[in-house]
Structures are given as C-alpha cells and as structure tokens.
C-alpha cells in the first residue's frame, strides 16, 4: 500500500501492538501528529515536557514489560528528551523514541530547531536511525522495535525529517527483520551451565547475586524456584527489588552502598558468587579489589560485555537468564539444599547483629516509617516509583516488595524528576493498581508540571513528598564528608505543595503526624485524583547503613545503637 511516512508511523505502531504513546508535538513532527489526530488505534498522552514523556514511556515499559513509545519534535524537543534516553540506556529499558527533524534539504544549514539528533543520541541509545527515505521507514521501525526489546533491552531512537513524513512510498510490514550483524546469544552454553551447577554443589558458602536483568527477562519466578530448590541465600541489587518476595526466608536483603549489613557481609564472606543479570556496578561492589575477595564467580548475562568487565568471571555464561535458569533447574537436584544451613545461620547472625532498621523520633515523623506504613496499607496492591535521593534508598530498603515490576526507579543514571512521570506511565500500563511515587522536596520540582498531564488524562498518581527541606542525599554527604558545609542544599524556601497541586486541579495534603498521614493516604486513594501528600519528616535523618564511596562492603558506617 502507498502511504505517507507519517501514516507509516501510525501503521507500524499499530502493528507493533502499541496502545499508548507519550509525547509532545512541534513543527518537525506535525505531519505525524496530524495522523495521530485522525486515528483511534492508540491513545496519546500529552506530557508537559519531553523529558517527562520519555520517563513516562519508561515507566510504562517497566510496568508492562512492553516496548515504551515516546514522540517528540526536533531541536529542543529532542534535547529535552535526551535525559530520558540516557536513563533508559543505563537501566536497559526497551523504548522506541521517534523524533521529528528538519526537512532533508535543510539538514546541515543550522535551520530553525535543527540539531544533530542522531549525533547526540548515539552514545545514549542502543541504536539510532536517521531516516532519509520513506521507503526505508517500515524496515527501520520494525528493526527499532526488535532491537529495543531483544538481547539486552534498551532505547532506540528514530529521527525522521519532516519531508520524509510527507513522502509517499510503499508500506509493507510483513518482511521479517533481517539483521545479519545483530544476533543476541540467548541460549547459555550447556557445558558451562553444568560446570556452574557443579561449582554450586561443591561450594560451602554460595550466594545468589540477583540483578535487574532478571526482571527484564521475566525470569523472577524461575529464579525463585532455583533459590528455593538449592537453598542458597540471595542478595538483590537495587534494580532487582521484587525478584524475591520481601518475606522470602532466602532473601538476605539489598546489597551495596546502602545495602543491609547482612547482605554486604554475606557478599564479603561468600566463596561463590552466582550473578544473575547483574553488572557489578560501583554502587554495588564498593572497593573492587576487596569485593567478594575469596569467591569464585558465576556470571550469567545476556550482554557479553558485562561479563568480566569489572570482576573476573570463572564461569561466564552468556545467555537469556530465563533460559539459563530453566536449564539450571533441570540439573539442580545435584545440589544438597540442607548443606547450606549453617551458612544461612551465619548470615542470620549478621542480621541480628546489625539489622536494617531506624530509630523512631517522638517529635518528627521518620521517612522510613512513612515508607513502611505505605507498605502496610497498600503493600502488594501498589506499584512504587521513586525519584532520586534519600527517599529512593529508603524505599528500596523498607518497602515490602512482593513481585517483579512493582518497583520502578532510576538506578543507573540517577535522574531526579524521573519518579512522577514514570508513575504516570506505570498507571497507564496498570490502571487497576495504585501508582505511588515516593519523592523528595528536591526531586518533585524537577517534573511537577506533570500534574497537568495527570489531571487531564485522569492518572491518579499519589506523590508522597518526604519533605526535609534539604537536598537530602547531597546534604548527607556534606555532613559526613565535607565537614557539615551544607553548600546549596538547604531547600527551606519552598512552594506551598498543597496549593501547587490544587492549582493544577489535583489534591494536596500536608501532614506531620502518623494519624494525619494515614488519613491523607486513605483519602487520596479514595478520591482517585492526582495527589501530593507532603510529609514533614525529620530534617537530618541519614540513609544508613552506608559504604562510603570507594570503601569496602565490609566496612560500613552503621546506624548508631540507641541507648536503652
């Protein structure tokens, strides 16, 4: 069929099963928006900033497991979206981001709203395309979806000049993707898998190190089975929260800079690290030379470049973690689960020694209490997003996650302003569940214009602002490592968050007691409109325990014990 480039975009998105597109129109992408106006195959959600549109697509992708789609215009529309692309790239989130570009004849002339978009996105996407002829568009869009979702997922950027969206060409979407140069290796080497299982059977203190790749591969339930069958204890990375249920007796906790003492000590004492879809990030390992010093390493990852990048793998297995874990399950009976009881006992003793906890305060609410309380009240029913900072770490530490895709946060890039738009995407993907965004008084202002999107599209995200009048995480580092010189982190001057929400048509609460918080949360859930719940919390609370940057996992700063 002969159709325009703009119509091809609509057709391709429809054939890919896209039901929601996030975006913001502008000059160079107008032809496509004109076709969006005429169609009813998918809904378009108008975010109020291009960065938010990409974050919303990320939230949608993470909650649904599908490819998220965002659409933006050229120039500033594109540059605003770059943070979202980079965020998705760091956290391996499948996205297709379509941008308009100035017409082909104007490219290179410094035209109005022209920027070398593919030049900029090259280093923060899995792949990108500049479409120069409409006849290539069906192939490119099909490849874009395939590349985004396969292998190690990631964002793919497609830049389409305005004249190409007007150009008429043949549209045939039935051709299978033919990419000779891109063939992700999904099946693990059976010999290596067998060797890995043997190493697990022979080890005395093995430890599963579970990463976000498990969630991307939809392998959480297989991993749960493997953990239970083998009796091997497990630690989770920040990105893997929810792979094991919070009350799983095999789950020690989160490891890393703000991981629990027991998790970090287990990693320091283990003789065999079994890394599944994890990439040994510096926030996880601490000082590399001291990381799991006496352990052999099994590393399962779909990305060969992640294996032996930072920590040498004795048993490298390139493959989709779901396939590999399924193969491991078939031969896992070789492992005697009872063998590791004393090892688990040791780990439990670590936990008894320094449990992950906090001290209540009689005057001010503690942020950790708020997170635990939401967990008690909403628990499994809520999907939890966060922004970036102290509240993010407290959420990862204290929320009782029970399922994969329940926790959506910016891990790799650490993007303040991610949480609210991502929570909108989560709500669009999972409308039956409550979408909660834990945020801080710093982060929330970085995409608060999304109140408008939430009101217009009736996406009742509940934003819980843990307000300590500080850029808390930076303040914490300044307190601990910069001799309390709180340079530019005092956020005492603030908007009225209640009125701010109300100005857009949302609702707002300011609470400072437990009773007020419970009432506000209950009311917000019932009212079913976008809400800001501003919780006045203890100003100087630190995220503890903590491995100082560059320190070893076993050398943690710990929560001071309370005198009794």
């Amino acid at each position: 069929m002969q159709i325009s480039g703009a119509q091809m975009v609509i057709e391709a998105l429809t054939l890919e099963g896209v039901d929601t597109v996030f975006g913001y129109p502008g000059g160079a992408i107008m032809n496509v928006y004109d076709e969006i106006y005429k169609q009813d195959k998918f809904q378009h959600i108008l975010n109020r900033h291009e960065q938010a549109a990409v974050h919303a697509a990320e939230g949608y992708a993470k909650a649904s497991g599908k490819v998220g789609v965002a659409m933006i215009t050229s120039g500033p529309g594109f540059t605003n979206a770059v943070t979202g692309l980079a965020d998705a790239y760091m956290d391996s989130i499948p996205l297709v981001v379509i941008s308009g570009q100035v017409p082909m004849s104007l490219i290179g002339t410094d035209a109005f709203q022209e920027i070398d978009a593919v030049g900029i996105s090259r280093s923060c996407t899995k792949h990108n395309y500049l479409v120069t002829d409409a006849k290539d568009l069906p192939r490119i869009l099909k490849e874009a979806f395939y590349i985004a979702a396969s292998g190690r997922p990631g964002p793919v950027h497609v830049d389409i000049p305005k004249d190409v969206t007007a150009q008429i060409a043949e549209f045939d979407y039935s051709q299978p993707v033919k990419l000779e140069t891109y063939k992700p290796h999904t099946k693990g080497n059976p010999r290596q898998i067998k060797k890995a299982i043997e190493a697990m059977a022979d080890s005395k203190r093995p430890l599963f190190y579970l990463g976000g790749g498990i969630i991307n591969a939809n392998a959480a339930y297989e991993v749960r089975e493997l953990v239970h069958k083998t009796g091997i204890p497990a630690v989770e990375t920040f990105m893997a929260r929810g792979v094991l249920a919070h009350d799983d007796e095999h789950l020690i906790g989160m490891l890393g800079m703000h991981g629990s003492y027991a998790a970090n000590m287990a990693m320091s004492e283990t003789d065999l690290v079994i890394a599944l879809g994890a990439r040994f990030d510096d926030r996880v390992t601490g000082k590399l030379s001291e990381f799991a010093k006496n352990a052999a390493v099994i590393h399962v990852d779909i990305d060969p470049a992640s294996i032996s990048k930072l920590v040498n793998a004795d048993f490298p297995i390139v493959g989709d973690v779901k396939n590999v874990v399924n193969e491991m399950l078939e031969i896992s009976s070789k492992i005697d689960a009872s063998k590791f009881e004393s090892w688990r006992e040791t780990i439990n003793n670590f936990d008894d020694l320094h449990p992950l906890t906090y001290h209540e305060d009689s005057e001010k609410l503690k942020p950790q209490w708020v997170i635990e309380r939401v967990g008690e009240l909403l628990g499994d029913d809520a999907n939890i997003s966060t922004d970036v900072g102290q509240h993010q770490m407290w959420t990862a530490q204290f929320y009782p996650f029970s399922r994969p895709r329940q926790f959506i946060s910016s891990g790799g890039l650490g993007t303040m302003g991610f949480g609210f738009p991502a929570a909108l995407g989560v709500k669009a993907a999972a409308p039956q569940q409550t979408s909660v965004n834990f945020t801080g008084d710093g982060s929330i202002l970085m995409n608060c214009q999304e109140l408008m999107t939430a009101v217009e599209k009736k996406l009742p995200v509940i934003n819980i602002i843990l307000n300590n009048n500080y850029l808390g995480m930076v303040r914490q580092w300044q307190t601990l490592f910069y001799d309390k010189r709180h340079s530019e982190t005092d956020l005492s001057v603030q908007p009225d968050f209640v009125k701010l929400s109300e100005a857009f048509g949302g609702i707002g609460y300011r609470v400072s007691t437990k009773e007020e918080f419970d009432a506000a949360l209950k009311d917000a859930v019932e009212k079913n409109v976008v809400a800001f719940i501003e919780v006045i919390v203890h100003r100087l609370e630190n995220v503890m325990p903590m491995v100082p940057s560059g320190g070893s996992l076993f050398n943690m700063m710990l929560l001071e014990k309370k005198e009794k």
């Binding site: 593919v118 280093s123 792949h127 500049l130 990419l179 140069t181 891109y182 990305d303 470049a305 990048k309």
Partner: protein
Amino acid sequence: MTENSERRVISVIVVNEASVLSRITDLFSGRGYNITSLTVAPIPDSKYSRLTIATSGSVRVIEQITKQLHKLIPVLRVYEHADLVEKEMAMVKFPITENLSDINTLCEAYNGKIVNVGENVIIAMVADEPKRVENFLKVIKRYNPKEIVRSGAVALER
C-alpha cells in the same frame, strides 16, 4: 588499573552505512580507549567495510574494546589479532636538491621508491611494517623532508 598496556591491532567488519564510523570512534572516546591509527575502506563486492584499528590497553581493556565493538548493531565481526601480517604506507616530500640516489636506495630498503618528481620536490613512498616505517622516517630526517603522511596500519591474520 595498573595492568601492562600493550599495542594491539583490531579489525572490525561493519555494514557500509551512514555514521558507522562515528559509532566506532564515539565508542572509543566515550569509554576512554585510545586509537593510535585507523584505516577504513570498503571490502570489494560486499556491503561491508573493514576497519583496522591500532590501539593500546591492558588485556582487560582490549577484551572490553572487542566486546563493546561487537555490541554495536552494524558490526559484523571483530578480530583481535594475535598473529598477523601488518603493513603501513608512508609518503614523504623531499626538496629536489637533496641527494636523490641516497633517498631512492633508502626507499628500496623499505619496500618503496620515488613515485613523483616535480620541479621543486620529489615524492617518495614506502610500505612496510609500522615499526619499520617509523624507523625509515627517523633515517630520512637528514634529507629535510618537507611533508610526511602515514596511512595507518592494515593487517591480515596469518
């Protein structure tokens, strides 16, 4: 990392398409790897080009470079050469007043010759292993070379 850094030659087969070269060079600059020299040309009768990259780094860095290169979508194959034949070309412009027979003899010792003679200058070329080319360029300094151009290395596995 304080591991020993050594020179390596990597060949990369890529699809001939727009901006493929910047994907490769961006990867090197973005991840802090070195490019000592780089040559690119299409492979005859195919849709591919071959890049020869001379680089340096520890064993771990070289392994990362090859893995990261392979991750790029238009990259078909990456060869990290162990046993290879490596050649490089250099052209040098000399004033015609220099001792031409000396220059010619030197060129011949390095697989080369005088390839162009003008009114004021001559151009000589040599093609040899990069190390030998370097040596040649040292030796001819006394003949007042006016301009020197090196092609960068090309290599084939034995």
